[in-house]
């Protein structure tokens, strides 16, 4: 069975002056896949992601996201993706409901659709009692979950998550990954960056970026075999040592 690719990057490169942040990366992501984009801080993960979501122009190479070109069709890309950034990025001074309404609105959902989504989301997350509270008063874990749900509001084909579980306790992380699985089951492609190696185990396939290059790309199982390692952390360490 051949599944379609929703992200295809070919020799994608980004330079800032003389510094090459992303060095000719090539990979593809299949529909419905959970694709882990790993790397140490400063390896170029966020820069690569920014090119894919259309807010940074590549210096060279090509890439298609949801079938649209990252140079010329960023508007179409934006309609088909969801994005959750590293920083928690809902509005603290708006209530849960107002945040949902606002983000639904900027993605052009109709009023009835927003209402329906809002009720569904609030009940799924168990936020009935606090849906009229300001988001700023919620604990971080809830904010992250809400933020993820908001990025899925417009039912995007692909959702990009940039270090979504940073600073969250292990239980919430677990719950967060359950949400990710659920979204993937429904056919949403998940592109997630992380530096928690245990999270890498949850992904269908992972790529590991070191100094702007993709040094390894496969399923966690195969990578562990290839590097003769027990865990993804060891894979990562061995890879880093080989390169030095």
């Amino acid at each position: 069975m051949k599944t379609e690719n929703v992200i295809e990057a070919d020799q994608l490169t980004k330079t800032f002056g003389g510094f090459t942040a992303v060095n000719a990366i090539t990979f593809e992501v299949k529909k419905g896949e959970i694709f882990g984009f790993l790397g140490a801080n400063g390896a170029g993960k966020t820069t690569a992601m920014k090119m894919l979501i259309g807010i940074s122009k590549p210096s060279s190479g090509t890439a298609k996201v949801a079938g649209f070109d990252v140079y010329t069709q960023t508007e179409s890309i934006k309609k088909n993706i969801g994005y959750m950034s590293q920083k928690f990025a809902l509005y603290d001074d708006l209530t849960v409901k107002e945040n949902i309404t606002f983000f639904g609105g900027i993605y052009g959902l109709s009023r009835t659709k927003i209402k329906e989504k809002r009720e569904q989301l609030v009940s799924e997350l168990g936020l009935e009692n606090i849906s009229n509270k300001l988001v700023g008063s919620l604990p971080l874990g809830w904010k992250q979950k809400l933020s993820f749900s908001v990025s899925l509001l417009h039912e995007p084909k692909i959702v990009f998550l940039d270090e979504p579980t940073g600073g969250v306790d292990p239980i919430t992380r677990r719950q967060f990954w359950e949400m990710i699985y659920k979204a993937a089951d429904q056919g949403t492609t998940i592109f997630v960056t992380t530096h928690y190696m245990d999270e890498a185990e949850y992904c269908d396939r992972v790529s590991i970026m070191v100094e702007g290059k993709i040094e390894a790309l496969d399923t966690p199982k195969k990578l562990k075999e290839q590097f003769k390692a027990d865990s993804m952390s060891q894979v990562f360490l061995k890879l880093a040592r080989n390169i030095e």
């Binding site: 509005y91 001074d93 309404t101 609105g105 900027i106």
Partner: protein
């Protein structure tokens, strides 16, 4: 369009839920206009003066009565000796001392001249000047009333008329200035802060990844402030009309239109600042130092441009506030129409387009 309405609604939530911005938006204008209107004034009223009368005759008494009868001066102290003048000034209350020479009346009759020394406290030069002028004119008045039976061979009679502000109320001068400052503050500072806030919080990134176009994001952020600035301008004009009795001689419609133009100029500046500043604090500093100071010092609001050194006069031309002050002074006090202010209006429009162009360019570079 619907997206847009939602965006603006969200912007209003931000404004109304933040006490600090509410205060800057609505407390400041009212506080400033009242402050400038009541407290800060160049007018002379009930100035305390002291008299040192070495002569104590009929003429000096008449003059003293005349001075104390005017609403400008209150005679607070009678001094007996020269040595006490210094102490009177040092205590701080007394702003001027009138020193009548010995045998004032006699000299007046004998030599046709009597000497009054006017000593003023010039720690505030403007006030000292005004006091001297006021006393001089009272004395001249007195002299004329004395000489009216005598026919002189030739006489020069200056007839002065102060037009547009005959009572020389300083509030007339402050209203346009305060309005300019407030529109600048609200429009430029508040928008630059609110845009950089989204950058700081990371929500700007989310907005840029959404299907909203960058210019829609910016316009959405700016529209609420246009609305609030218009309300502010209206409040200021109403306050000045009803509390300070400042006239609006010209067309209210023109005043409104020019104010909207200046609001847009300031917003464009605010957007430009937000493309440079990365944090709210930086945006605030740039707005205060880069906009407020020049507006207060170089726009002609407080210090007349014509008496500045030439380099500063040249610099003052690039300050939008200067042109706006000329325009609203013209409309409010002189009642001029478009024929007299089209040049200033064009300059403002030009500046606005320039700032918008520049920020569009900067904004694009940032997105690369």
């Amino acid at each position: 369009m619907k997206r847009f309405v939602g965006f603006i609604k969200k912007e209003f939530y931000h404004i109304f839920r933040d006490r600090r911005s509410l205060f800057i938006l609505f407390g400041m204008p009212i506080a400033q206009i009242l402050l400038f209107g009541f407290a800060i004034t160049n007018e002379i009223n009930n100035v305390d003066i002291a008299i040192l009368d070495h002569s104590k005759d009929a003429t000096t008494e008449e003059i003293i009565n005349k001075i104390s009868a005017s609403k400008y001066f209150t005679i607070k102290q009678i001094i007996a000796r020269e040595a006490e003048i210094e102490t009177a000034f040092k205590k701080g209350k007394i702003k001027a001392v009138l020193n009548f020479e010995k045998d004032f009346s006699k000299n007046l009759i004998k030599d046709q001249k009597g000497i009054i020394q006017i000593i003023t406290d010039a720690t505030n030069p403007n006030t000292a000047n005004s006091i001297t002028n006021y006393i001089n004119s009272i004395l001249q008045n007195y002299q004329q009333s004395k000489n009216k039976d005598i026919v002189m061979e030739y006489q020069i009679i200056p007839q002065t008329r102060m037009v547009y502000n005959p009572e020389l109320k300083s509030v007339f001068m402050f209203v346009p200035g305060v309005m300019t400052i407030i529109l600048m503050l609200v429009s430029a500072m508040m928008t630059s802060i609110s845009i950089t806030r989204e950058k700081e919080l990371g929500t700007m990134e989310i907005l840029l990844v959404s299907p909203l176009k960058p210019f829609q994001v910016i316009i959405g952020k700016v529209v609420p402030y246009i609305f609030l600035s218009v309300i502010n301008a209206t409040v200021i004009v109403l306050l000045s009309i009803f509390i300070f009795k400042t006239p609006v001689q010209g067309s209210l419609f023109l005043l409104g239109a020019e104010s909207v133009l200046f609001i847009i100029t300031s917003l464009a500046l605010g957007i430009l600042i937000s493309t440079i500043a990365e944090t709210q604090q930086a945006a605030m500093m740039i707005s205060l130092m880069g906009l407020m100071l020049p507006v207060i010092l170089l726009s002609g609001f407080i210090f007349p441009i014509s008496s500045m050194p030439v380099p500063l006069q040249i610099i003052s031309n690039i300050i939008p506030a200067k042109w706006f002050i000329i325009i609203i002074k013209g409309i409010m006090l002189k009642g001029v129409g478009m024929i007299y202010i089209w040049k200033e209006t064009l300059i403002l429009i030009g500046m606005t387009l320039f700032f918008i162009g520049l920020s569009v360019k900067k904004y694009k570079i940032r997105l690369e």
